[in-house]
Assembly symmetry: C2
Homo-oligomer: 222 residues x 2
DNA sequence: AATAACTTGCACATCGCTGTGCAAGTTATG
DNA sequence: CATAACTTGCACAGCGATGTGCAAGTTATT
């Protein structure tokens, strides 16, 4: 037996608990993509049994995390646009940093998760946007021209994820992570670090601010 | 009960099988770091039971792979040196590509493997070498100067691994993978793609050749 | 305070994986 | 060919994880 509620409005604490579970799962799956329900429940301050009141199966839980994370990341990147593709790419890097936790768990699940088959669909709009920017950038000679747009887009994505990992592992401050991810994406896009730095300092919207800090992580400031 | 042989010279087919097991394990663990012994045995054309004739436990098998892979990668990078740090870094990228399979499985196990605690030790010499090169490069203003050497070395390592993944996923040809890994490391090191391309084309030892192809992978040429 | 919603603990069935014992095969090697 | 080395299949014990049933608690809501 799983969800107990027969199409009635759920109780307030129940929905809180549901969120707590999703939260705990997101955090734990970031460390270990096969964290047990036992551990996840503990992290949420609940018993393992209770999880089955909210999610029929483990896979359903993970599915929720995927779609939720997907929504957040998509939303974070939705309104990005800039005539200069380099600025647009840096902006993407910055937004990804502000959503590190969601981005990383999604990356994990996209590779090893039970739904990896259907998951490309979720990421399609985001990837399409990046690909578009990259195309424009190559045409405008703002980005490197030695490979096709799709490959470059994939590499930028890979670089961003790798740096996200590195930044978390090194426990970087929010400001440092912010800058590093932008630099990494721009470097991969073909800019030298001088050019990349210049792009960043010349555009106020790329400066770090509290609102561009990752949510949910109260990591130490270096 | 594990190893059957009482300190006698092992039979010829036995050692062959041992190698086959290690080989299969290396390949399968690349896809799934928790591949079952059943699957590994099948990949080696043996029965699960036979594995226990060669390795006492799963962890022992994985330990073997780690140290073996570590040896190969260390050996591949041992004799690299060049006055120009950029060339040295490109060379490292090239050699990593020639050892993709070992490198990737090591990266996996270094994070999730049962021995990850002691494993940093194995990689120490390689990392020290990279760090040294990076230091020299920064001092000589050949590489980016906007972060400390250790961070940059870590980023280069991360970029290399991420591109290795990407190259495998995209099923790149040997020549393409070769070039891409070098470009990625150089980009991360601070060069623009123009500079990076220039470095590569100006140094014959960076050109792709059969001997710089990854061993063991008969992947399709794109 | 009464009720329905939710949580919990325990017991249990199931699954997949590891590791071992043993007896019967197969194969390298002298 | 004779022997020791190696492989195999089967059976079994153990572990940790998922998922379910149920009865007894706790808590939000009216």
């Amino acid at each position: 037996m799983h969800t107990l509620n027969p199409t009635k409005p759920p109780r307030r604490d129940a929905t809180e608990n549901r969120l707590a579970i999703l939260d705990s799962a997101r955090v734990l799956l970031n460390r270990d993509p096969e964290a047990s329900l036992e551990a996840i429940a503990a992290g949420a301050g609940l018993s393992r049994r209770s999880i089955y009141g909210h999610f029929a199966t483990r896979d359903e839980l993970i599915g929720e995390i995927q779609t939720l994370g997907g929504r957040r990341v998509t939303a974070a990147l939705a309104h990005i646009d800039h005539a200069d593709s380099r600025v647009a790419i840096a902006l993407i890097g910055a937004r990804l940093w502000s959503e590190v936790e969601n981005v990383r768990v999604m990356a994990q699940l996209a590779v090893r998760g039970p739904q990896r088959a259907v998951f490309a669909e979720t990421l399609r709009p985001v990837r399409a946007k990046l690909l578009d920017i990259v195309r424009r950038g190559i045409a405008a000679h703002e980005l490197r021209g030695d490979m096709d747009a799709l490959t470059l887009a994939n590499l930028i994505e890979g670089a961003a994820l790798s740096v996200l990992d590195e930044a978390i592992r090194a426990n970087l401050s929010n400001a440092d992570g912010h800058r590093l991810v932008m630099l990494a994406t721009l470097s991969t896009a073909g800019l030298s670090w001088h050019e990349a730095s210049a792009v960043i300092t010349q555009h106020p919207e790329l400066q770090f601010s509290a609102s561009s800090a990752p949510a949910g992580t109260e990591s130490s400031e270096s």
